[in-house]
């Protein structure tokens, strides 16, 4: 018998299909014919059993009703989608797609990821410690500071002129003496107490004198 892999596959293919008998070299081989018949019997038995397992007609009515109920509760996507929605659908498909990965490969990937994160954190810490030792860079910034304006204080000072009176009579002198005695507060000259001079003094001189008023 041709017991090699390719002959087995060919025999299975033939037995699973519609072929009723072998042809060519395999037809002349008694063992091949026997194997082929055995395979065909196995397939026929499987067919019979699969058909027997089908539910009775009464089952399908209930099945249909249950199907209709389920379909009515969940509406389908409506017809063809325009390209914009197709793109959305594609993005959704990309985001929700799942791939089968062998467990060892997935574990290796996770371990690699954890180690790389760990080493990245360590490297960052080390570089952070080094920067403390070095001088911090000098940054020049222009900051606008509000300037307080100088207060200008203006005070008018009258200058009193004491003229020597050579020809004052004794009568005038006596009158002045009496006035000082009767009105001492009025005679006291106004002082500069409480006046704080600014750094810059502005003096306004008013031309003329009280003699001009006359």
């Amino acid at each position: 018998m041709h017991n090699c892999k390719s002959t087995k596959t060919i025999l299975i293919e033939l037995a699973a299909g519609d072929a009723n008998q072998l042809s060519g070299e395999l037809e002349n081989c008694a063992a091949c014919r026997e194997e082929f018949a055995s395979l065909r019997n196995a397939f026929r038995a499987a067919d019979t059993a699969i058909d027997l397992a089908q539910p009775a007609e009464a089952f399908w009515r209930g099945y249909h009703a249950r199907m209709r109920d389920r379909l009515q509760n969940s509406p389908p996507t409506s017809g063809w989608l325009p390209p914009r929605f197709s793109m959305l659908l594609w993005f959704r498909q990309v985001l929700t797609t799942s791939i089968r990965v062998p467990v060892p490969a997935a574990l290796a990937f996770v371990v690699l990821l954890v180690f790389s994160i760990f080493f990245a954190i360590q490297t960052r810490r080390a570089s952070g410690a080094g920067s403390i030792l070095t001088q911090p860079p000098i940054v020049t910034k222009t900051v606008e500071v509000p300037v307080v304006r100088d207060r200008i204080v203006t005070r008018v000072v009258y200058r009193s002129i004491q003229r020597p009176s050579r020809d004052l009579s004794a009568r005038d002198l006596a009158r002045a003496r009496d006035y000082r005695q009767t009105e001492p507060a009025a005679v006291t000259a106004q002082g500069l107490e409480g006046f704080k001079p600014a750094n810059e003094a502005k003096v306004t001189i008013i031309n003329g004198s009280y003699h001009d008023d006359k």
Binding site: A31, A45, T48, A49, L52, A53, P55, Y63
Partner: protein, 200 residues
């Protein structure tokens, strides 16, 4: 694809639930059969097949009719199966009980109890085949069904399930081995002689 089917698809895309139900009615038995032999439990098979139709209904707007409707539905079915397997792996392992003849006699509403006319041989055969299939993993059973019942090529199965063609071939070979063991088919002695591949 018949023109009637194309019209039904257009109506279902409108959306029209009735048109979709009519479409589903054409293929529901095949999908249910796949689900039943995949999970080996009538209740789970109904849940799974209903889930397939619900997903198909929700996505009918994206069906561009570049392939046949059944090919599209079968693709959704396989994805549903694989997702279910991933989400509840341990539950699938627990459900390895075969759909035996006793199981047929039980009060499971979904399964057709073989009538009185059904021969005893059929009952025994059914029990044996189900016992053989129960020894496979759900994935191996699915590969066997896709190959034998659906007539898909190994390349198509490999692409649909995301496995190699070698894996698909091994699954089918394993299913056949189990079937022949249960059916008490004598395996011919393995005389290995050089094979003239392709010259048969």
């Amino acid at each position: 694809m018949t023109e009637n089917e194309a019209q039904l698809i257009k109506r279902a895309q409108a959306p029209d639930a009735e048109a979709f139900c009519e479409l589903a009615g054409r293929y529901e038995r095949r999908i249910y059969s796949l689900a039943l032999h995949y999970c080996h439990d009538p209740q789970d098979a109904e849940d799974l097949s209903q889930e397939v139709w619900l997903k198909a209904y929700q996505a009918i707007g994206t069906f561009r009719q570049e392939s046949g409707f059944y090919t599209w539905i079968r693709r959704i079915t396989i994805n549903c199966f694989l997702n279910r397997q991933r989400s509840s792996f341990f539950r699938w392992r627990k459900l390895a009980a075969p759909l035996s003849g006793d199981h047929l006699d039980s009060a499971k509403p979904a399964l057709q109890v073989p009538s009185v006319e059904a021969s005893l041989n059929n009952r025994i055969l059914f029990a044996k085949v189900m016992r053989a299939l129960a020894q496979l993993t759900p994935r191996q059973r699915l590969i066997f069904l896709l190959k034998h019942h659906e007539g898909m090529t190994y390349e198509e199965i490999a692409a649909a399930l995301g496995c190699s063609t070698g894996t698909a071939k091994k699954a089918v070979a394993r299913a056949l081995t189990k079937l022949r063991e249960e059916l008490n088919v004598e395996l011919p002695p393995g005389e290995c002689v050089p094979c003239a591949a392709g010259q048969y």
